[in-house]
Structure formats: C-alpha cells, structure tokens
Subunit: 355 residues, 2 copies
C-alpha cells in the first residue's frame, strides 16, 4: 500500500509530520512518498501541481494532504496560485465525493461560539459534490456583455451545470452514508431559482426510491444556512453541490469552534481518496510549532478506513485522539483554562503514545 | 406620495395590517393602495405577479411588501409559484440594491443561539446585489450534456454573470452606506474559483479609489460564512452578489435569533424601493394572530427614510418599536420568561400608542 504525502504550505508540513509519525507507529508499515504541492510545488517546479506530484498521486493508493497557500503566492496569476493544486487533484483524480464531518467533541464544547445546548452532541456529515458545478463548468471568462442594459461593457461569467450521472453518483454516496447513520438525508438546493438545482432535486427524488429506509428532505440553501445557526442538531447527513457545499461545510465546521479537529475525505468511484484537514494553511502561525495536528491525524484515520480498508487501525487512531483530549492536552486553538497547552510535535507524540 | 401595499400570503396580510396601522397613525397621510401578490395574485388573477399589481408597483413611490408562499402553491409549475412575484418585481423595477441590516436588540440578546459575548451589540449591514448574477443570467435550462464524461446525458445549467456597470453601481451603494457607518467594507467573493468574482473583485478595488475614507477588504464566501459564526462583530458593511448575498444575509439575520425583527429594503437607482421583512410567509402560523409584525413595521420606517425622505417619521417609528420592547412586550417568537406575550394586533396597537 502506497500513500502519497503532500504537505503543502504554511502549517501543512508540520501537521503532516505528526500524521506521518502516527502512521509509522502502526504495526503495519505503509510505503510513504512525499512530493511538493501548492506554493511549495510552484517554488520547486514552477507549478502548484507539478507533473511528478500528480503522477505520484495517481499511482498511490491514497493521498494525505496538508494545506496550501501562503502570502508570497498571493499575487501570482490565478493558474499558478496554490489552490489550483487542490482543484487540479480533484478533477484529475475524479474525487467527486467530499465527506466533511462536523463533530463536537464533548471535551471541546466550550470552544463553540454557540450556546452549549444548541451544539452539544453535534454530529453532522456534509457530503459535497466536488468535481462539477460552477467550479469547472465551461464556458467561463471575461467577455463583452452580449445584450441587455449593459451591452458592450465587459462582464465576468461562469457556467453552473450538473449532468444526471454526476448527481446520481453523489446521491448514492450520500444515501449510503445516511444508511450507516441516523438515516436522514437533507438535499440542499436552490430549486426555486436555479435550473441546475431543480434538476438536482428531481434526480435526488428519483434516487431516493432505491433507499426506502432513508428519509429524504429538501431545503433551500439560504434556509440551510439559517438552520445551521438555529438548530444544527436537526441535521444528520446533508448532500449538496460543490459551491453550496463549500459554504455550508465551512459554516458547519465553524459551529464546533474547533475546526482544527475536523478531517475530510475526497473520494473517487473506487474509494481511492485524498484526505486533508478541513482548516487551511494558516501562514500566520506556520513554523511556530503551535498548530493543531489532530485534524490531519484524524484525516489519516479516515484514509485507513475508507481507502485502505484498515478500519481497526482507524479506530485505534481515533481512540488515541480521544485519549489525549481526555488527558487534557490542548493546542493553542482549543486551549481553555484548566487544560495543558502543548505544541504541534508534543500533541503528535502524545497520540503516538496513546496508540 | 403613493404607497403600494402588497400583503401576499401566509402571515403577510396580518403583519402588513399592523404596518398600515402605524402609517395611518402618522400626521401626514399617504395614499395607500393594496393589490394581491404571490399565491394571492395567482388565486385572484392566475399569476403571482398580476399585471395590475405590477402596474401599481411601477406607479407608486414605494412598495410595502409582506411575504409570499403557501403550501397550496408548492406544486405549481415554477413560473407560477409565489416567489416568482418577488423575482419579477426586482427585475421589472430595477431594484438592484438590497440592504439587509442584522442588528441585535439589547433586550433580545437571549434569543440568539450564539453566546452573548459573541453577538451583543451586533450591527452588520449586508448589501446584496439583487438583479444580476446567476438569478437572471441566460442561457439556463435543461439540455443534452455537450461534452465530457457525461456527454449525451441530460444536464441542468445556469449562467452566472456580472457586467462592469452592475458591479460599479452596487459598489457605490455599499461604499456610501459604509461612509455613514464605521467606514469598513468587506467585499465577499470567490475570486479563487470564479471568473465572475475575480472580475467583481477587480471592479470593487477600482471603485474603492473614489472612497479613500472607507477601508475595503476582500473575503472568500466560504470564509465569510465561517467568520459570521466565529466573530460576526468584526464586520461593518458586507457587499456581495445576489447568490452569496442570499445565503449570507439569511445566516447573518439568524445570528440575532430574532429574524422577526429585521426589515429590508430593495432600491433602484433613484431610491425608489420595495420594503419587506427579512423573514418569510410562515404559513404554519398564518391566521393565528401570533406573528411578529415588527420587521414589517420597521420596513415601513426604512421606506419613510430611504424612498419618501421622511427621516423624522422613520425615527419616530423606530423609537416606538424600541419603547414597546422596553415595555417588555413580546410576540411568541421572541418571548422569554419575565416578559409579556402579546399577539400580532396587540403589538401593532402598542407601537401606534408609543408613537
Ligand atoms: C481553496 C478552494 C479552491 C477550495 C474550494 O473552494 O473548494 C477550499 O475552499 C475548499 O473548500 O477545499
Ligand atoms: C424567494 C427567493 C426567490 C428569494 C431569493 O432567493 O432571493 C428569497 O430567498 C430572498 O432572499 O428574498
């Protein structure tokens, strides 16, 4: 089993180091191969997703990804900016199924900006489609406005689109995830305005016939954004498109107050996947040894579970993380009075010890 | 001065009645003319925006709008559904500038699901562009997928677009609003992915040169959704497109916990406008006399201020609302122990009395 390790930029390398420590501490050894990505890819090879990195990602059984982006790359032309690496990996590897859990760890309940009674026990799974929608639709660009009151002016434009098969396959991922949980699925759309999402809704309803044990409901995206703030515990699994999923999954993650704890998986049709923390590259704290490595360590656990069929190893890691939290160890982002503040490497070491 | 009164569906008629009471209690009398809209428009004339209603709205100096939508219209074809009325009014009247304040009234701090320290004193203004973007872009529909792995299948599609002049005019609205407040403007985009919003960002930066006294910053929409949950008080004015504004303004409104209190204005280039509560038609409680009329009454105050140049009258109404809150009167949605629960009409009467 070969794992591609793509640390990236900012805090990426230091948090990925901890996850690698944890992987190396398991009985079974995996082949790990590292390659630069994002700003680091640009610095090394002039492109955020160098050919060698893409080939490694293609050849590997799974990919562990840190985070990309740093100040010095902000003014590059769009095609060379770090985030193009992540878009390129998703598209080239067909990673259409993005699983983003938003879980509140009981020990960290105080970190949420929401009242404890609103979020205690929160456990939502957001299933975001990741290779379609307005992210990749063509045509797009800047052109002369063809008609209407602004005719002749410049206009920026993009194309939102979803084909039937794209909706069906993400629907199956979501229904099957719901079957393993509380069997409730909310499809988030904007069918009252968008043709794409009226079509999305129609297909969701059609696929739901194959899953009579799952209760499907539909919610407009603006209402979903409200309900996440008002009563987030009412959700079990949410499925939505790439653009709405980008917004809602970040809002949901932030509800927990500890986005430094949340892993994510991006899967292809054969459960090969890319695993990364839900947070970003946080260049402001990079290199200081204070970043929280737990989201990345938990991403490695998800990788063992989904792509490498090593569920017991995943359980072991997840339990080790629970143990270090129970021991009162906290990185700065989740620190509270009465707990013990530790750095990135200390946290990684503690997880290894708890394994 | 002529005001078009469009009560609509659900709780629309009962809450608009209270705002009409308040308008009639002012010294100056306005000409008020009522017409059906939404489901009520369909029921009366077979269309959610009957010609007579549209003509009245065009002829009036301002429009007071309740809310639209009710169960019995849910299965009509899209073009006849109630919400088409609001889209039609916006487009036909050129109401491109949507102002949505999210304010936390000190008396209602407990109603928020967020911790008091996170939201106390919250006062954000969201400026949402309302007649462009993917809401109205052409082409759109369901077609045969022209290429790629899903070629030949059906696909739903829409067009996102913003012309330069459209961005400029909403930018001016936002910068001028910021000048009257804390002089900070956050433009929310997704420039890292969308051509439309890279273009949006470029134009915002260009317009900012005319407003050196306003500090402009830029935030991706996913990050904005997070920051609204994490630290909403850091925002002053937010400006964004139609789609992102739909989502973020609802999330921001919900932060206050009392969406029944929040008015909104939708303005054209000459400050003619449509005024409506930020909440919906709530058909589940319609006709029970328990809906909160304050958002509609405050919408009438906004109307006096922005479209009718009657700032003192607007102040009077806003102060009367503060008084009834201070008196401890509460409709069911904002009721807390120790306050006095009142119905829709009682609340309207109390505001009239406090005038
Ligand atoms: C970096 C960016 C292109 C990306 C996205 O918009 O998908 C990020 O926000 C995410 O959610 O992974
Ligand atoms: C009813 C719907 C079309 C509308 C919108 O999406 O603009 C509503 O959500 C709003 O925000 O006014």
């Amino acid at each position: 089993m070969k794992i591609a390790i793509l640390p990236g930029d900012g805090i990426g390398p230091e948090i990925v180091d901890q996850a690698v420590k944890v992987l190396n501490a398991l009985d079974e050894k995996f082949e790990l191969e590292t390659a630069p990505v994002g700003g680091a890819g640009y610095a090394a090879h002039g492109h955020p997703l160098p050919e060698g990195t893409l080939n490694l990602a293609k050849a590997a059984d799974a990919i562990l990804f840190g985070a990309v982006g740093d100040y010095q790359y902000d003014n590059l032309e769009r095609a060379l900016r770090p985030e193009q690496a992540i878009l390129g990996l998703r598209k080239n590897l067909g990673l259409f199924g993005n699983l983003r859990p938003a879980i509140l760890y009981p020990e960290l309940a105080g970190a949420s900006t929401l009242k404890p009674e609103v979020v205690s026990g929160l456990d939502i799974l957001i299933v975001r489609e990741l290779t379609g929608d307005i992210y990749f639709g063509q045509p797009r660009g800047v052109r002369e406005c063809p008609d209407g009151p602004f005719k002749g002016q410049r206009e920026g434009f993009d194309t939102m689109r979803y084909a039937e098969g794209e909706i069906r396959r993400i629907a199956h991922v979501a229904f099957q995830a719901a079957q393993k949980r509380a069997k409730r699925l909310t499809s988030v759309d904007k069918a009252n305005v968008l043709e794409t999402f009226q079509f999305w809704k129609d297909i969701m309803i059609d696929v739901s016939k194959e899953y009579p044990d799952v209760a499907l409901d539909h919610m407009y995206v603006d209402n979903a954004a409200m309900q996440l703030v008002r009563a987030p515990k009412k959700f079990d699994v949410i499925v939505t498109g790439n653009m709405f999923g980008d917004i809602l999954s970040d809002a949901a993650a932030m509800l927990t107050g500890s986005i430094g704890m949340l892993p994510s998986a991006s899967l292809d049709a054969n459960n090969k996947g890319l695993y990364e923390p839900s947070h970003g590259s946080a260049p402001d704290i990079a290199g200081k040894g204070i970043a929280n490595p737990l989201a990345t360590i938990l991403s490695a656990a998800m990788m063992l579970r989904f792509s490498l069929s090593r569920a017991e190893q995943a359980d072991r890691i997840e339990n080790a993380v629970k143990q270090v939290l129970a021991q009162g160890l906290r990185t700065a982002d989740i620190y509270e009075e009465g707990t013990t503040k530790v750095g990135t490497a200390q946290m990684g070491d503690a997880v290894v010890k708890a394994l």
